[in-house]
């Protein structure tokens, strides 16, 4: 026993010695640095004052503009095109730029890396004129060749930078450009480099939202030499032309970006450093904001929003709606194949109760299956009135005066467009009960839910959709075009007239013409009621009142180039 005790003592002594030794080292090394500095300044007396100012600047980190942006989850990948994750493009938006950009608070396109563009009359040739004297963060020149390399990388799984063997799939490219190289629907026929700063895209068929796609952060431009250098680990080593350079990524914790000194826009970015910090718990994130540890918090609980409006040191912001949750009706099954029954249900759903119960009012009842503010959003249509008498009348007219029984499939997972599916299904069940419809709630795991709703086994069901390129086609065609029945169109809605309008609108180049076509399609959809749009949620977020010029974008990815801190 004594022997062991002595061993222990010796061990402790050893540790203490090591620790003190380290301490000594620290002092010594500090002294060494001092010594070398002083000897240097001795050597060059004239530069002495300069040295002083330098060391002052570096030690005075308080003056640096460092912004901490806190969010709920980490990025999946910093290779924007191979992911559909919003937390990823939120970060890559700072590092990379696309040929076009979106306006600060809408999906209207404006110049990006291309300062100008031309569209041929037949809508088959798009020519982009690129900014000159732009370099990537690694010093490589930005030019037409770089643009071509990026687009070919996404289109062709056999491209040297496609990294298909490493599991890279560019699903957003496939969705937005009708497939990949060799597919029937693939829109881009060829890409021609006219000269260093002029590039031409030749299409197989016109695509009404081609320019819209070019503004997406999913189609930004990566430095070709970085692709060469990093290969498949480009997803952890992003190199773009954006206002901020990538510094480091500590997974599930933080991503650090710093100012790109040679950014093409004079005087930008204003911040020296941006840190994307993961704080998973909404309440903890709010505490961190109040204690000043972070500057911007995404993902505020709508219930906390009212409190924040009262606080002087915080600012409450809302993002414009870019999604909607819906109650789908399987139009191929009795009794939902009868438009009268569908309209009866539509009149019976109290959307404002849902907006209030789930979003504390930070949502608007949805009229159309497209978010407001989108091209061609039909604002002449009015919300189906919540009117039980009318609803009962319609039901009686359809021959169901004694009521009916129906299955209501409820989503097993929460989504931004449907944060609490269980509550929504209960509200709907209640509402339907009022008009004599007995809804039986059906629960399935997520995969079987998706498989079975795609196979058409459901009657009433809940799902939603979120926007990406800000074009109505992505909503209307995906959800209601007959050709998508059984995949994304789970209402199995097939209407030749609607299909024709949507096809025309997809091919038209003139945006006003497109808007008219979409408005017409929405009118028919409104009358036929194949789905009941519930609400468009307007996500709330909060910032410290020191943060200036921060404008949340509906896509959830906004550039922080112009943001500054007023401390």
């Amino acid at each position: 026993m004594r022997y062991r005790f002595i061993l222990f003592l010796t061990f402790m002594l050893a540790i203490t010695l090591v620790l003190t030794a380290c301490d000594g080292d620290e002092d010594e090394s500090a002294e060494e640095v001092d010594a070398t500095e002083s000897s240097e300044s001795d050597g060059e007396e004239s530069s002495g004052s300069e040295d002083d100012s330098n060391s002052e600047a570096s030690s005075d980190s308080e003056g640096d503009q460092v912004l901490v942006f806190a969010r709920g989850g980490d990025s999946e990948s910093l290779d924007y095109a191979s992911t559909t994750d919003g937390e990823s493009s939120r970060v890559t938006k700072q590092v990379y730029e696309s040929l076009l950009e979106f306006e600060k608070d809408s999906f209207e396109v404006k110049p990006g890396l291309a300062h100008d563009w031309e569209v041929s009359d037949d809508g088959l040739t798009y020519t982009f004129f690129l900014e000159e004297d732009v370099t990537f963060h690694d010093g490589t020149d930005f030019n037409a060749e770089a643009v071509k390399t990026n687009f070919e990388r996404w289109a062709d799984p056999n491209h040297e930078f496609a990294f298909a063997d490493d599991g890279y799939v560019y699903s957003m490219y496939g969705t937005m450009f009708g497939g990949f190289k060799g597919d029937d629907g693939h829109v881009i026929k060829e890409i021609n480099v006219v000269d260093d700063h002029e590039i031409e895209f030749v299409l197989n068929q016109p695509l009404g939202f081609f320019l819209q796609n070019m503004g997406m952060s999913y189609f930004a431009i990566t430095s070709p030499s970085a692709l060469e250098e990093h290969g498949a680990s480009i997803n952890e080593n992003p190199v773009g032309t954006g206002p901020f350079k990538f510094v480091s990524w500590s997974k599930d914790d933080s991503i650090i970006l710093e100012k790109f000194e040679d950014y093409r826009k004079e005087g930008l970015p204003k911040l020296d450093e941006v840190i994307f910090q993961v704080i998973p718990d909404n309440a903890a994130r709010l505490i961190a904001l109040r204690s000043g540890e972070i500057d911007i918090m995404d993902g505020l609980n709508p219930d906390d929003a009212a409190g924040i409006e009262q606080e002087e040191s915080l600012v409450l912001l809302t993002r414009a709606a870019n999604n909607f949750g819906y109650l789908g009706l399987n139009t191929q099954q009795e009794p939902l194949d009868d438009p009268l029954v569908r309209k009866a249900i539509n009149h019976a759903i109290d959307r404002s109760a849902i907006a209030e119960a789930l979003y504390a009012g930070y949502a608007q009842p949805a009229v159309n299956p497209v978010p407001p503010g989108y091209l061609g959003y039909n604002d002449e249509l009015e919300l189906y009135e919540y009117n039980l008498d009318k609803s009962k009348e319609l039901l009686a007219e359809a021959g169901y005066e004694d009521g009916l029984e129906i299955e209501l499939w409820t989503m097993p997972v929460a989504r931004p467009y449907m944060p609490d599916p269980e509550t929504v299904s209960e509200i709907i069940q209640n509402d339907l009960g009022e008009i004599g419809i007995t809804a039986k709630i059906v629960r399935e795991e997520w995969a079987p839910y998706l498989e079975k709703t795609a196979a058409g086994e459901q009657e009433l069901f809940m799902l939603g959709w979120s926007g990406t390129n800000g074009d109505p086609d992505y909503f209307l065609s995906s959800l209601l075009h007959g050709s998508n029945a059984g995949s994304s169109n789970r209402s199995f809605y097939k209407n030749d007239e609607v299909d024709k309008l949507l096809d025309e609108a997809k091919r038209a180049v003139d945006q006003e013409e497109r808007a008219d076509l979409y408005k017409k399609a929405q009118e028919i959809i409104y009358e036929e009621s194949p789905m009941i749009p519930l609400v468009h949620s307007e996500p709330v977020l909060a910032t410290s009142s020191d943060v200036k010029n921060y404008v949340p974008h509906p896509s959830t990815s906004e550039s922080l180039a112009e943001v500054e801190l007023d401390r």
């Binding site: 999946e76 599991g167 903890a284 961190a288 204690s291």
Partner: protein, 333 residues
């Protein structure tokens, strides 16, 4: 001792085998096609069959299992579906984060728990005993997330003494070497960072350590009370040894075995089950790694994460078993 140790090590083999079978089966036990589950509502049929191909889900179970174990033996835990990075490299820093937190939480729990238990037993039925045991009862029953949020509210928001989240100052990060930030800051010989990383440890350690602390206190007290009544303690007391010596030298050693069992179990629980604490304090540990993977249906990560946690649990139990024999040489299984 050697025979005991080797026997104990041999017993690990079937346990480890069982673990791999269970983790391997996870993906096949969930209803529905795994590829559909992973890809979600916007998945095309082509994407689903591609994913099945890459994950090898279309091969037969036996071949899949052999490939899985073969990779494991080479230290390859697979590739994350979500981040496309190697899980072996991704899991390292997270494991370090969790071990660091568990270590400090257990220091808190063991130090306070054992001492409170001893004093309660020593001064049985005193006001201290009463208070300590009420506190222990509250500690056992307190929801971790509530305690954590209250800590954050008081010490971060109202008083501003301690940081509310993370392992380091966001604006002044530590350059990781071992990913144990306390050790790293010592290696960097950076006093400021050492204090920062310790400060970040305080609130989560207390939140995480409170339940084990209460359990340890109760266990120590009851075990101690039993030993205090034994003949040899009475003899030592009669010999005229001081109270303190009697308790800390003689009684403690004999009452520590059941406490050690509890400590071992609790360490295992904390290593794998710190998800709540890690989430609320945004501690990038292994519990959260697995939790996020569950959210994203990143099956390779779920499998490997569970395997690593189970492995740690087994190792800690092994250490505890060996410690038994070390403390009490009479123990021979």
């Amino acid at each position: 001792m050697l025979a005991y140790t080797s026997r104990r090590l041999l017993m690990l083999v079937p346990v480890l085998f069982g673990m791999t079978v269970i983790t391997f089966s996870i993906i096949h036990l969930i209803p529905g096609n795994p590829a559909q589950t992973i890809l979600g509502e916007t998945a095309t049929e082509e994407a689903i069959s591609n994913l099945e191909e890459t994950m090898g889900l279309n091969r037969n179970y036996f071949i899949q299992y052999t490939a899985y174990v073969g990779d494991l033996l080479q230290g390859d835990l697979g590739t994350s579906l979500r981040t496309k990075a190697s899980i072996t490299t991704e899991i390292g820093p997270r494991l370090a984060a969790t071990i660091e937190l568990t270590f400090f939480a257990m220091i808190f729990a063991v130090f306070i728990g054992i001492n409170a238990g001893i004093i309660s037993a020593w001064k049985q039925n005193s006001w201290f005993d009463f208070l300590a045991m009420v506190f222990a009862l509250v500690g056992v029953s307190m929801p971790v997330f509530w305690l954590a949020l209250m800590e954050q509210w008081l010490f971060a928001q109202e008083l501003g003494w301690l940081p509310a989240y993370g392992r380091q100052e966001s604006r002044d990060p530590i350059d990781p070497i071992t990913h144990f930030y306390v050790i790293d800051s010592i290696l960097h010989m950076d006093m400021k960072q050492l204090i920062t990383s310790l400060k970040h440890l305080v609130l989560p350690s207390i939140a995480l350590g409170t339940i084990p602390m209460a359990i340890i206190a109760r266990m120590t007290r009851s075990s101690m009370l039993e030993v205090m009544k034994s003949d040899y303690v009475r003899t030592i007391k009669a010999k005229g040894s001081g109270q303190f010596l009697v308790i800390y030298k003689h009684a403690l050693k004999n009452s520590i075995i059941p406490v050690l069992t509890v400590i071992g179990l609790q360490v295992g629980v904390l290593l794998g089950g710190a998800i709540l604490t890690e989430t609320i304090f945004s501690w990038p540990g292994i519990g959260r790694y697995v939790y996020e993977a569950i959210n994203y249906r990143d099956y390779p990560v779920i499998q490997s994460g569970i395997l690593v946690i189970a492995f740690l649990f087994v190792i800690i139990n092994l250490i505890v078993d060996l410690l038994y024999a070390f403390i009490d040489p009479r123990i021979k299984y």
